[in-house]
């Protein structure tokens, strides 16, 4: 467990009301968690604020995590809320180095939700759980009046055991370490934006929702001792995840913009709307930081996994500009890549 979080200056939460930005995964979300919620529950395990809480139990390291899913629309190309609910929690455990051993699911359902829709989601969850090799062993259901939630909200809880070969810790990251991504970014967030139908854009795009455990397994086999840190870049995108790492390890991160994998359609949508793909959510990708000697081996390990052909080495850790992420263009131009502020909003300027 890292003491980095305890040493960080605490953010203050002084907002007068909750805004959508507090759920977007960027700065406002951090303020809410670090300024209001975490201090209230204060304890050493929580203080690390990583994707999963890890604590010792009977000689092993147990990882446990919870995630709520409120996506709208419920169904979209490539998946549905059910897929996200299973894969998201499996992935939070995976990037903590733990194979998911069991999941639980809590449903909050809106009166009036057609049973067929619920059936479809439950079946999606069952299928995703089968694919991920993890049983859903229990949970809860509640119903609220019509209009009190968007059809359905799902929260899943997961537990797993951290692989003993791993010592993941932002504090273990060193200057010179390599940054890898498992595949093209931005697919999920753009798919959802288009699926809402308000912007009248069409594209042949699907959410990338899937379990990233196979990537983690492959990395452990290839270079467990050199694997420093992993994250699944969901809300807030790659930019937010790497900014959090830069802050926690107090080093700088450089991204080579030309090397970041991106589907043509995601790029097209981002160019039309004026969005930065680095801020867009992913639901089936993995960021990993490995020791430089293991970089090529780690890349090969990711690319060897079916669905991992798009994996790339995208940057490295440096001592300079500690705490920030910088993008570099092929001609030597630089820009600071900031954490997401609020929801990504299309712009016309």
């Amino acid at each position: 467990m890292t003491t980095a979080a305890a040493a960080r200056p605490r953010l203050r939460f002084s907002d007068s009301q909750i805004e959508m930005a507090h759920g977007a995964g960027g700065k406002a979300s951090r303020r809410l968690v670090e300024g209001l919620i975490a201090p209230a529950f204060a304890n050493p395990v929580l203080a690390a604020l990583s994707d999963a809480a890890v604590f010792p139990l009977g000689g092993a390291r147990v990882a446990t995590t919870a995630d709520g899913y409120v996506v709208r629309p419920l169904r979209f190309p490539g998946g549905s809320i059910g897929d996200l609910a299973v894969n998201g929690t499996v992935n939070d455990l995976a990037v903590s180095g733990a194979r998911a051993v069991a999941l639980m699911a809590s449903f909050i359902l809106e009166a009036g939700l057609p049973a067929d829709e619920l059936r479809a989601e439950v079946e999606a969850m069952a299928a995703a759980a089968r694919r991920a090799g993890v049983p859903i062993v229990g949970g809860d259901t509640k119903v609220v009046e019509h209009g009190r939630c968007d059809g359905m909200y799902v929260t899943t809880f997961g537990v797993g055991l951290v692989d003993e070969r791993l010592a993941l810790d932002p504090r273990a990251v060193r200057a010179g370490d390599a940054v890898l991504v498992s595949g093209p970014i931005g697919d999920h967030g753009i798919t959802i934006l288009l699926a809402r139908g308000e912007l009248e854009l069409e594209a042949d795009l699907r959410s990338d929702t899937r379990s990233v455990w196979p990537f983690v397994e492959s990395l452990i086999a290839a270079c467990a001792s050199g694997l420093r840190w992993m994250r699944d870049p969901t809300r807030g995108g790659v930019a937010t995840a790497l900014n959090e790492l830069a802050r926690e390890c107090e080093l700088g991160i450089v991204l080579r913009e030309a090397d970041v994998p991106l589907r043509r359609e995601v790029r097209g949508a981002c160019e039309v709307l004026g969005l930065d793909p680095l801020h867009i959510a992913n639901e089936g990708q993995l960021l990993a930081v490995v020791a430089p000697a293991d970089a090529e081996r780690a890349l090969a390990a990711l690319q060897a996994v079916p669905g991992g052909e798009g994996a790339r080495l995208i940057g490295e850790v440096r001592a300079e500009h500690a705490g920030t992420v910088v993008g570099i263009t092929p001609y030597g131009g630089t820009r600071a890549i900031d954490m997401l502020v609020g929801d990504p909003l299309p712009r016309i300027c």
Binding site: R263, G327, Y331, L345, C349
Partner: protein, 376 residues
Amino acid sequence: MTTTTGMKYVDEFRDPVLISAVAQEIARTVDPARHYRIMEVCGGHTHSIYRHGLRDVLPANVELVHGPGCPVCVLPTGRVDDGLAIAAQPGTMLTCFGDMMRVPGTKGTPLELKARGADIRMVYSPLDALKLARDNPRTQVCFFAIGFETTAPSTALTLLEARELGLRNFSVFSNHVTIVPAIRAILDSPDMRLDGFVGPGHVAAITGCRPYEFVARHYGKPVVVAGFEPLDLLEAILMVLRQIRAGEAKVENQYRRIVPWEGNPAALRALALVFELRPYFEWRGLGFISQSALKLKDAFAAWDSEVRFAVPGVRVTDPRAAQCGEVLKGVLKPPQCKLFGKECDPEHPVGALMVSSEGACAAYYRYARTAEVAHA
């Protein structure tokens, strides 16, 4: 970013080899003993400069000064309040571009008011607002129109269609402004010493290049109308520097694949049909400027939000410590404002320059804090 296939008319103008070639030519063109101050007028250019890290490839003695061509940045708080006052009226829906959603009014941003129950929706096009009006016949839909001459023709065509359809529940709150008065205000400002201008490429796609001839003729400064990709901006800067070296001052068109010298006649006709110039309009930081903004003609009164709704019309001055005006004119760089990065940051913006994606302060805050990395 690596993609499976590229984007035509974009990627060619981001070619690293060509960019390096132009950068080297720029380095050979400048007089090392001289300091050059070139203003890019358009906020879209400001955004592009930072987004592509272009300052890193320019010689240290070429300084880019950010101009006031950011329509969100120059909108005074009072006008934002007026728009939000419309949204607060029952049975009304306010529609606006994404750029507006986080701009602070006195009582909050559109996003915050939306969170408190106001019907405020983001649209990509004024035609989307028109569609919302048709789909919600019992709701009064107001479109909060912002933008320079690039965007005003689109609003004009939308109004023409609203009139054709005889829609009774659609109106436009026009905050369109024109670029020439802003350029003139900069040139007339005593604190300003500029050597040349990078001209607004997409505004010029509508207006053509002629409107900028006064800068060369009366003020003796070169103007090069530029596109928005890195190669466009660098080529335009090179063209400005070459004029300076040759002792010339004229208007040139770098963005020839898009901008016709005479502008877009259909767009100019649409503007003339629908809009007229306000006698004066207040610009944040620049004060009242005459003949600088567009209002709907009387023939379109039925679709004019300022006729349909009562708005407070109150002037709201910026907090005294905020130096938005000086930054807009390029007199101060964003970090020189006392509030920069302290009371004013993208999450808690005091002025719109920190909120708008093309505002100089936001661009600086987001993109420019680590310039020294490039050569590490």
